[in-house]
Symmetry: C2
Subunit: 339 residues, 2 copies
DNA sequence: TTGTAAGCGTTATCAC
DNA sequence: GTGATAACGCTTACAA
């Protein structure tokens, strides 16, 4: 079956209409070799007239390049892959490249399958989107083309892993809170086995220490990435330490939970307690009450950077190691506006 | 550059290793023609040994089919495209087909560009994901392969549009509320220019009428799809109609806003006022307090169905018109559990 | 049963 | 400057 052969316009048709050979037509269209100006004109016009679209398959067969990259993720349904994907897709589109998308859904079998598929499809490179959790096994040996790991780190230091600078993001938060004259700062975050959670704790503690401070309660409250945990931990923390004047939350959901409980407990935000989230999940952070100061991971940027490095690798200039890209503090009312 | 030619395993390599011609090797691998059992064995083993992956480009060049479909969306960042995409990707993966993803971001220029790109890449078909707003112009004439429109309807009745049954979803909600002995039901929803918003109103009113009821206040409160609007409208509605005993909200965000205000006003949910959302946006609906009864659009299913129809069209059996797929009510505590 | 050869649509290498 | 011709990797008549 497939498409009707007849209705597919080929270079031969264009050449015929222009009265030249396919070779000349090809050169004219690709600005290769020397073609007489008027010949080129005729060819271009013929191509235009027939709405000629060069067959990418045939091209790829010769060049060995498909101008396609494979994007492999494990959690498209989550909210981190998408911005990365968008950033990458945008950067690729500018270079006339396309994205083959595969979501392995955390299943190793599925992942293997997709890798084989993508390799068979001759993708020029891979972008592997991980999660903010631990390092993940390198796919290195299985893949004959350049790979860039984004958001989740590869175990192999010879791979390139591109991460958000979680430690730096946490530093921004604490510096901001201290600048707002907060001194008794608590930290409620997700599971301790998340690399991102630990990194943020490290960053936060560093800045606190530089200012002669410690976390309220001494330790962060590790739990889960949910509103429910945010509510629970906030209640607990404020009961034990009623003089807490700021909460740094590990993500926006936790922060929203915190806001709810603070309101219940009669604490004003930001007057009594400042609250900071993480992720800048707009639909939550900007629409809650009060709007949430939070950290933006610059994920779109991360995706775009991944593409840049992938191109470099395709050009024979691979980068290796772990690169951390700065985050950005988004200040909203929950920490008191500058005004 | 492109990949090193040398390290790409080709059918020729396999044939050589097996000591047969490429033709025989091809037949053996594709179970075509008559090949001696032991010959086939040798070929299969050689292929295995070399980890041979047939070059999809070469295959596609011959067959005219690429086993690739283009998925065109306008709002990947929103939360509707993703589940549809996942459903489609899953269904396609089962048939060894892949997805080329393009997000036009609502930009017509970009959309045209992507369409050209995808056509040049010889995709076998398109899935166009729209939004729940108005009908959108058919892309019909520009595309030489089958197209299925999902979530957003095409202007052309000769196209196939696959939608969630918004009217039916609203019916489920109202029937449920009435079964819970609610009689004074208000409706707060998004902008009136959204087709989905209007359809839901229609469905809700139909069931109310069947039960001799009307919406509290007579009219739905059209606004925006935000918590903020949910808060504002709830305050307004309950002030004007203090005896309201149920709120049907146009989406989960509005419902969350409603929950907040109800708490502030000292109304218990669900005891005094039952609240229902729409979309079953898990991370919001399941994690708020109390968890939200809401309507699930079955979007993954929608994506999978789209693929089915696309396959049918590829096999020469296209469907046309508008198909509406049922929604599903997810009952949680905000309307009182069955218990 | 197996191998030879043509051809898918394009680009690259040569002669002319 | 232009046009045969040979690839690219694979499938498929058709011949052996």
């Amino acid at each position: 079956m497939g498409r009707r052969r007849s209705q597919q316009v080929t270079l031969t048709d264009v050449a015929q209409l222009a009265g030249v050979s396919v070779a000349t037509a090809s050169k004219a269209l690709n600005a290769k070799g020397e073609v007489a100006p008027d010949t080129r004109q005729r060819v271009l016009q013929a191509a235009e007239q027939l709405a000629f679209q060069p067959n990418v398959l045939a091209r790829g067969l010769i060049s060995g390049r498909t101008r396609t990259i494979g994007l492999l993720t494990d959690e498209l349904a989550g909210r981190f892959s998408i911005p990365i994907l968008l950033g990458a897709e945008n950067a690729l589109g500018n270079e006339q490249m396309s994205v083959l998308l595969c979501d392995a859904r955390g299943d190793a079998i599925r992942r293997r399958h997709y890798i084989r598929t993508l390799v068979a499809r001759q993708v020029d490179g891979f972008i592997v989107v991980g999660d903010s959790n631990d390092v993940r096994p390198s796919l290195g040996r299985e893949i004959p083309v350049p790979v860039v790991y984004v958001y989740g780190q590869s175990t192999d230091p010879d791979d390139l892993s591109l991460l958000a600078d979680d430690e730096g993001g946490a530093r921004l938060v604490i510096e901001h809170l201290i600048a707002q004259r907060r001194r008794r700062i608590g930290h409620i975050t997700g599971p301790e086995h998340y690399r991102a959670a630990r990194d943020r704790v490290t960053g936060a503690r560093a800045v606190l220490a530089e200012n002669g401070l410690t976390l309220v309660g001494g330790e962060p409250l590790y739990g889960e990435w949910s509103q429910r945990w945010g509510r629970h931990a906030t209640r607990q923390l404020l009961t034990a330490h009623p003089d807490t004047d700021a909460l740094f939350c590990g993500n926006d959901q936790i922060a929203v939970g915190a806001l709810q409980v603070l309101q219940e407990m009669g604490r004003r935000v930001p007057d009594d307690v400042a609250v900071v989230g993480y992720d800048n999940w707009e639909v939550l952070a900007a629409d809650c009450r009060p709007p949430l100061t939070t950290v933006d991971l610059n994920l779109e940027q991360l995706g775009a950077t991944a593409v840049l490095h992938l191109f470099a690798a395709l050009d024979g200039n691979p980068t290796t190691g772990v690169l951390r890209q700065p985050c950005r503090l988004v200040v909203r009312e929950s920490t008191g506006l500058a005004a």
